[in-house]
Symmetry: C2
């Protein structure tokens, strides 16, 4: 589709020159025409005979409306006739309209009578574009009327949207089935609707001054779609440009900051209990092997390391400076970092925007920009990078190396990450506090983690995305390689209110967040617990090769609950081929149920679990396994755990890597069995059927979005 | 409203006599008239003048239709004219219809022309009744058209429904707002709609033979509601009567079974590893103080207790017999129990309906009925009643006394209950396996737990309700006194399929379950984890006295997530009165946020937590507290736990009992702090913001349903 941008530019220039904030109907039509959006055909008749001819050409029925600069309210003036069905009626309507207009205002100046194709039938939908404070231009689609108004059944995508996006939007509303034709109604022309969505999204994206654009209703028929009413709002104020270094620049700085060879601690203190002391201890005791430079105005050394009065006195290169000094002192020290060409400053201190001191924060950002120093924080706990044994934080140290990278905007959530990680023995590559996000934010981290060989999954707690568009672009690229999990806090009206009082961040419409995050391949966690479990498990679970999930369960009751959980998590239970069904039946008692779930029944010996799990792993048509274990004396928890782990190990040795998760019901011994399985890379949970399925579901969501399924 | 049952009976008798399965339009109208349901007014005209007069009386516009036994397809015969707007048009239409009919079939026998009020405008809704396999007659309400068809936006209640039920149904659909008037449309006449719902529900309930009843559409206007189209299906086969002892009979038996003074173990065995041996050990080692009678055909004693060949040989009274013998031997032993007048048999053995052996199960049920023995099971783990130190089961013993009673249909879920209870130190009153539910089911248990002084909350895992109606009736009564939590397995299409292969139970439409359970005051748990947490926490949380929930948090980030969770769980954050806001502000730093959440900010000393929690407990306008703790060096986890518990203890001493839950984020020490708080009756969770709010939400749901709020 080629769009006539020049025409639109001309229209908008005129609107700007006239100082208007919206377009008139003719201008709206011009925009539609320029972008190939079908609108009702129309013509202006100067006589009754004209009217009859034009109406016949347009096709009946038509609507006829008076055109006069002196008549604003056409209906009041008797200047509108709808449902004109024939040439004779058109002639009569012309006469009526002219007569009424003259009666309404004697001697009125008439420019003619507009003849417009009258639309009806098909399905009324809405296509629009709006400017989101975080994501910028987004395109919207929904069914018209009450479905949009009452049920808020609308879906969004970043603009411009691709044809694939547009087609997905047609399926993205709750009432999607209507578009496919119900009650004997014809299916709508999906290609035509998608073209309009794409065109609207391009129109909005091409012209930043278009802040809102509404096609409502669009009549979607079996053979096309026409926008019956169009509204366009504009704002010519130039939007604030956001600081955005190139991906290469980001990477150059982030690699030095996150994996530094030399760290300065500004405000390093020999005094117990001081933040600058905790940071030093964590660095040293954490086993960081790089250079550590304490910076202190007076003392000659801190914890046995030579101290310097300023970073400028340090002889060698410094990659990152951790700030442990009060807010008012930050600006001065930051300038020195700039002069020393340190690429990153980790600003632990609070007392900036979060306490209302926006000015101070803007001041340090200006310094950072001037010297090209990237800022982490302020108002953060610092960060961890385990593969360098780096605990650049005043919190408790954490050193279990793994492949999960986590970040949080809030310090409290950061502490939850550390506690959970330690308790669940979750290996991490990095934990990062983002706090006020005066500079470094989620997209900088994503850019770093994307190429960090030690990171396989990225989980982020987010209260607001200062530049959602940039995040979405980077996330779309990164999530194609590594799962990106996002817990968006403030997603509900109440939560958003709390978010505003907390970080003064403008929380966007959650539906926009939801749709755009999905469009970007992000796996959204709906709770803190889910975010942590997904981060823990996704690196453990191999990527599935297909959609066929099989449940093998000793407890029929668990099988039912596991099936429920599959539906909740968008997983499809494999329809069992007859031969496979027969193969499973060989291993289970006659009153067990094959099919899916495979119910091996309680009271079975270890061999039954073993045989069925092995078969589940071996058969190529099965792509993922969910195990339901039931604690019995015949097959105690640890016996089950060992045989399951062994079967998986054997399969791995033969090159079979299938996602496998387990739910264990039984007495407390199942907890130890779960731990045993987790230690061997099999997510296993006690007393719950929903958690293992949720983590498998998250892996599937990611794999689908990444195009791996 | 008085209903004319005699007229309906007469109509149905005629339909029955004629062997029909549905009612004709006149019969449908007769039913509506008898139950006061407005239908379009109509009359039969014998002449054009008649037609004009009648139409004027009915009110224009009208529809006119030929009436002739010889014309089935009226429209084909040109026998229908719609939109007749005046007396003149009515006369003309009469002539047209008669002319067309004669042209269609010369010499046709005409009985006249029907003149019917033509309905339009307002809101099209659906009111219906259907027969659910589990719940029997239920009444349905939804908006008409695509909202019902595509979005399944329908709500159900047991029939007959009260006016309160009916009004709640109007708010129970997603599109409820439409009924209140949107886009300038008028609100519908809610009383009139509710009257129709109540009438339909009564009609269905009064006449068992009415299996389906559809009023679709009903035109709901600002000044009334009229059913435009009515359809009634009937089935005169008499439904199978279900065995239903009176509540007194149930109670008499259940009290002896659940709190027995003497237990016989049929199949008691001296041999390690045998089920009959495990049961004996659990009874003895569990500390059961009543009489224990081992029944064994040969051995003289089991585990030091004198054994008897049959229950009939036992000298004393026996309250319950636990069966630990193979299925084929059950019938014989059960007869002896009957002869001994033992009121209950706990049937551990499997090999009945669950393995396809329906006949054997029916046989034992027949014996039980004949001798008035109530059966628990078969195919169960048995049951626990801790306040009698009774472990009548072959599973691991459990003895932590408490007030939560739990039941499960599946043995696996039963084991999860035991494991979770032990791990979480959940005190229970009883754990009961229901298995095949050949006789005793959830409503028998509810009837027992209702009056059991040791039980304060009842949690049930349910795969099917064999008699959902009876369950709903009992649950409605019991839930007004004690929370009833239900985990309904097989709630999704996939889950229901698994349920069928598992218990051959017919899983009902989940929306019906959802609505009827809510109507019955049941708190529905959507996952096994939730069911267990609700059972654990609901007895700990005092009943709230109002809807004002306040969040006090040290971590702003937790505050946002806790607010999100409040919305998810239907909790409303209190709008802070100015004086209360000022009172909180006195305790928190100037950059903290008062309002709700009260963000005391991190880094605050214990006194800040203490002061704000005390104020939250003391102020009568606050009805429930959610605490968000953030692990810091200044206020370590145990310090927080102790001060919070102390504040609650002080309040309790002053007679203040407010629900209070806590979310703790921090390093692993928060786990110990959570345990400390739990031990003191304060639900507290680590690394999650959603769990504490979910349990508080469950308590609120119950309190609202029980009419306590």
């Amino acid at each position: 589709m080629s769009y006539d941008r020049a025409s639109v530019r001309a229209v908008l220039d005129r609107v700007k020159a006239e100082g208007r904030g919206s377009l008139n109907p003719a201008e709206c039509r011009a925009l539609c025409t320029a972008y190939g959006i079908a609108i009702p055909r129309e013509a202006i008749a100067a006589s009754a005979r004209d009217a009859a001819r034009m109406a016949a050409e347009l096709g009946f029925p038509v609507v006829m409306k008076v055109v006069s600069p002196e008549i604003l309210h056409k209906t009041d003036a008797g200047g509108v006739v709808v449902g004109v069905k024939s040439a004779a009626e058109a002639e009569a309507a012309y006469a009526t309209i002219v007569r009424n207009a003259n009666a309404y205002k004697p001697g009125v100046r008439l420019e003619g009578v507009q003849i417009q194709q009258m639309l009806s039938g098909g399905c009324e939908v809405l296509v629009g574009a709006l400017t989101d404070p975080s994501f910028g231009k987004v395109v919207a689609f929904g069914l018209g009327g009450i479905l949009v108004e009452v049920l808020k059944d609308v879906t969004f995508r970043l603009a411009p949207a691709s044809e694939t996006d547009a087609l997905a939007m047609l399926d993205g509303i709750a009432a999607a089935e209507i578009l496919r034709g119900v009650r004997g109604g014809a299916a709508v022309d999906r290609a035509a609707l998608a073209r309009i969505i794409v065109a609207v999204s391009n129109l909005a994206a091409d012209f930043p001054e278009i802040t809102e654009l509404d096609l409502n209703p669009v009549f979607a028929r079996a053979d096309g779609a026409t926008a019956a009413d169009v509204r366009v709002l504009v704002d010519f104020a130039s939007p604030k440009e956001r600081y955005r270094p190139s991906q290469e620049e980001i990477l150059r700085a982030m690699n030095r900051i996150m994996r530094p060879d030399a760290v300065a601690v500004i405000g390093a203190s020999p005094e117990d209990g001081k933040i600058g002391n905790s940071v030093m201890k964590n660095l040293i005791n954490g086993g960081y092997a790089g250079a550590i430079y304490p910076i202190h105005p007076k003392v000659p050394e801190v914890l046995g390391r030579r101290a310097y009065k300023s970073v400028k006195e340090v002889p060698g290169k410094i990659d990152v400076a951790v700030f442990a000094i009060p807010a008012p002192l930050v600006a001065g020290a930051l300038k020195e970092c700039g002069e020393k060409q340190i690429p990153g400053a980790v600003l632990i201190p609070s007392g900036f925007a979060e306490t209302g001191n926006v000015e101070l924060q803007e001041q340090i950002v200006a310094i950072a920009r001037a010297y090209n120093v990237r800022l982490m924080g302020p108002n953060i706990y610092g960060f961890y990078y385990t593969h360098k044994n780096l605990c650049a934080t005043f919190c408790t140290p954490y050193d279990l190396k793994g492949t999960a990278a986590l970040s949080s905007q809030s310090g409290g959530v950061g502490m939850a990450i550390i506690g959970f990680s330690r308790s669940a023995k979750m290996g991490v590559s990095a934990i990062v506090g983002l706090g006020n996000k005066s500079d470094i934010d989620e997209d900088d981290l994503l850019t770093f983690f994307e190429q960090d060989p030690n990171t396989q999954v990225i989980a982020m707690h987010v209260e607001d995305l200062k530049d959602g568009r940039s995040f979405a672009e980077v996330a779309r690229r990164v999530s194609a390689k590594k799962p990106v999990i996002v817990l968006k806090a403030g997603r509900t009206a109440l939560g958003a209110r709390a978010a505003q009082s907390h970080t003064a961040a403008l929380a966007g419409n959650d539906r926009i967040y939801d749709d755009v995050l999905r469009q970007s391949g992000v796996v959204r966690a709906m709770s803190l617990g889910d975010m942590l479990e997904f981060a823990r498990c996704l690196p453990l679970i191999p990527t599935p090769k297909g959609e066929n999930v099989l449940i093998i369960t000793g407890a029929g009751g668990s099988g039912v609950l596991l099936s429920d959980a599959c539906v909740d998590n968008g997983l499809g239970l494999m329809a069992m081929p007859a031969d496979l069904d027969a193969a499973f039946r060989k291993f289970i008692p006659p009153f067990g149920a094959a099919g899916n779930p495979v119910d091996i029944t309680g009271g079975e010996p270890p061999t039954t679990y073993q045989n069925t799990i092995r078969l589940g792993l071996a058969d190529e048509r099965i792509h993922a396994l969910i195990l339901g274990y039931w604690h019995t004396i015949i097959t105690p928890p640890m016996v089950f755990a060992k045989l399951a782990a062994e079967a998986v190990e054997e399969a791995r040795a033969r090159g079979i890597h299938k996602p496998i998760v387990a739910s264990l019901v039984g007495d407390v011994e199942v907890e130890q069995a779960c731990e045993y399985l987790f230690d061997r890379g099999i997510p296993a949970y006690a007393y719950t059927t929903e958690k293992p399925v949720a983590v498998l579901g998250a892996k599937y969501r990611w794999a689908r979005a990444a195009g791996l399924l």
